[in-house]
Symmetry: C2
Subunit: 234 residues, 2 copies
DNA sequence: GACCCATAGTGGTCCGACCACTCTGATGGT
DNA sequence: ACCATCAGAGTGGTCGGACCACTATGGGTC
């Protein structure tokens, strides 16, 4: 007799994670749907509540599940923002050459997103971009500048119409990541250059010129990339 | 008196995750280094072993830690491959319009990687690419074709010299992802077209022509992208 | 010197209890 | 009949302890 627990590969928790992931992949669990209780789930898979909790915690951190205290466990909407939140961890824990690689990726994606935005951005979205551009130029507080800088690019990424790309870029621009790289970059008086580059991006958006937008965004990220590369070299 | 446990935001497990992440970010824990035992860690943070285990499990799934039964808990190398393994989950759980967005991202990254590879690929790497190309054309078994197809692009991504980009592309080409999309795509007799496109990519690599390589790769992914878009439309 | 194995130490699993929070339905007043 | 209130059940969160499975180490044996 096969009781269905034949394989026995890996830890029981790992197997539980795969089982739940499979249930979602096969459509047996829909986005937003509520799961059985931890106790029931554990009983169904024949494992202890402790092990099941570890599996649930892992999937929670991955943005697949969401646990609401006192209410239950739910599948997230499974949208880009939910699943790619963990992408920020990569940016936060990367160092040295890996940071350059991440900036290289950001350059490629950011320039593409900016080009798409130039073709698709609405008047309202453009107004929002301008708001952050002027606010960024109206203060000398590095913290505030950084916040508006992030919002500036976030608005553009949103206007590109690819939520997944926007979510990845969000992770590649996470607060801690930017703070670590930009701290040194802007100490070299790069504020003026940054403002010029942002202005160029904005002009391209207003002109609805995708190629100009792509070039401006690539140059913008490329500047930081080259600076960081030089920092690591010698 | 402040006992240092003032904040109390979120669950204790979540706080433990942040603490360990911070330790790594601050360099107090180096890649490959061994951590204290679960029991010691729990005591240090003043939480139960159960909660600490959930934190460790979460970081294990994220590719930050690695638990070796009977030996101890270690920090991974923190390289792109380790941290981006979870990226495959996104591809596996995405559906509908989100799949198109992922293919759009793959088109951008794959074309960039292929262009870089055209400029940097070594003779050995090129030979490996050719091996998979011929093997792919020498069989009719869809499974085998898929395997060599994946390896073909994997070699090219590796030759591009950006490990992080290669790791992301790996996630975007995970077995289950490709299987889901390509099943339908190739049922329409797309084998011939796929072979032509792969040949074009290979020619560009041999000619060391980055722009031709970029175009060929973009067209290759774009074909699948358009097909999928059409599938979802009506 | 090489091999083997008892042993201590570590992560993996399970259990049971209790706490903190949420939701619901019965209660009582208007 | 309606609504505000609140006690109870149900759920996730935390804890402590026990035992199992595996690894690594060092001493003993040949």
């Amino acid at each position: 007799m096969d009781d269905g627990s034949a394989p026995q590969k890996g830890t029981v928790t790992q197997r539980a994670i795969e089982r739940i992931k499979a249930m979602i992949g096969e459509g047996r669990l829909e986005p937003g749907q509520r799961l059985p209780t931890e106790r029931d789930l554990a009983a169904q898979l024949g494992i202890s509540r402790s092990s099941m909790r570890e599996a649930i915690r892992a999937l929670t951190v991955l943005g697949v599940l969401e646990a609401r205290h006192g209410s239950g466990i739910y599948v997230t909407r499974l949208e880009a923002g939910d699943l790619l939140e963990t992408f920020g961890v990569v940016a936060d824990l990367s160092r040295g050459p890996q940071l350059v690689e991440l900036l290289e990726i950001r350059r490629v994606l950011e320039s593409t997103a900016t080009a798409l935005a130039a073709a698709r951005i609405t008047a309202d979205q453009l107004a929002e971009v301008e708001k952050h551009l002027t606010a960024m130029n109206a203060t000398d507080d590095p913290e505030e500048i950084l916040a508006h800088d992030l919002a500036f690019h976030r608005e553009i990424a949103a206007a590109a119409g690819n939520e997944t790309m926007a979510a990845i870029l969000e992770g590649l621009s996470s607060r801690t990541f930017r703070a670590r790289v930009w701290r040194g970059y802007q100490e070299e008086g790069a504020f003026a250059r940054t403002r010029r580059e942002h202005a160029a991006i904005h002009r391209a958006l207003v002109a609805r010129d995708p190629e100009a937008a792509r070039a401006a965004a690539a140059a913008h990220v490329g500047e930081v990339e080259e600076w960081l590369r030089a920092q690591l070299g010698p």
